[in-house]
Symmetry: C2
Subunit: 185 residues, 2 copies
């Protein structure tokens, strides 16, 4: 292993180009992971009231429409009321109606590209990244924190998607279950 690899890493500071590098990859990651899979994988869940890969992709689509960029816009405008509209974490359960997974993956790619174009067009400064809005439950949050959360939220749902799929083989792996911590998460 070359010396530059594997060094213990402290938490990263937020860096806009590094954040965008992740955000622009997410639609392709989910397409690579899910596109064309049998529905046994796409509709698998971790049990009652948990999300399938199909539901997760719908959730990300909804976030592109209503969460990240609209909230960034509220912060940047610095109007008298900087409170965000509460986010509906279950909207995809009706908004995805009638759509195939392929439709949702296409929609995610299209919306994400448009949102990243909006973000790039803002040419954000450090001062702007430090501006705050008001989260309905969490209180004051900065634009920098909002954008970092967009990234971590993407990655969390990629991890969740892979975990939901892995767990479908929790019995099929037999004794190997002991070596696969993902199956107990």
């Amino acid at each position: 292993m070359p010396p530059e690899h594997g060094v213990d890493s402290p938490a990263m500071d937020f860096d806009l180009p590094a954040a965008i590098a992740v955000l622009e990859r997410t639609p392709d990651v989910l397409r690579s992971l899910l596109s064309g899979l049998p529905s046994a994988w796409i509709d698998a869940t971790e049990g009652p009231e948990t999300w399938s890969p199909y539901v997760i992709v719908g959730h990300l689509v909804h976030g592109e429409r209503t969460d990240w960029i609209p909230r960034a816009g509220i912060i940047l405008a610095q109007g008298p009321d900087r409170r965000f509209t509460p986010y509906d974490r279950f909207a995809q359960l009706h908004e995805s109606q009638g759509k195939s997974l392929a439709d949702l993956l296409d929609e995610l790619a299209r919306l994400r590209a448009a949102n990243l174009a909006t973000l790039a067009g803002w040419r954000l400064t450090e001062d702007q990244l430090a501006l705050a809005g008001e989260h309905p439950e969490l209180g004051p949050v900065t634009l920098r924190q909002l954008l970092a959360t967009w990234v971590a939220h993407d990655l969390g749902h990629v991890a969740q998607t892979a975990r939901v799929m892995a767990k479908q083989y929790r019995q099929a792996v037999g004794p190997w279950r002991a070596y696969l911590p993902i199956l107990g998460r």
Copy 2:
């Protein structure tokens, strides 16, 4: 949501075509997620003695060389000694030496394609999937369990990769940390 989506799923039985559908996607998933990212992401870890995305890809490369298909071969041969060679979970720490992430991603794609060609060439029957080998620690395991474990192992490391990356923003997200369970895993 159409009625066919989101139905609670019991554990899936192992099905060879469905397993192969996941196995053939993994190299592209990791390429989509990691290729071209700044090294701050590639070399990030969860702390001392934990693995970066770079180390994880090297681990998967090593598995293609020494684990899944060689062990399947031992089971299929049904020779007098069906004990597997113990698997070195740290081999990538020296085997990846001098290789870039791009090298490892290419190697993974090439080895995986060759291994899936070998698997397809075997045209496995249900009787063969029920044959057993001897795991050095777990005892008797079947070919079906080995192949299911290959799939779950892939998905576990995809989830791990996304989790390691997400955690780099554990401080940058500020108060949103409370809403991102991935950051506490």
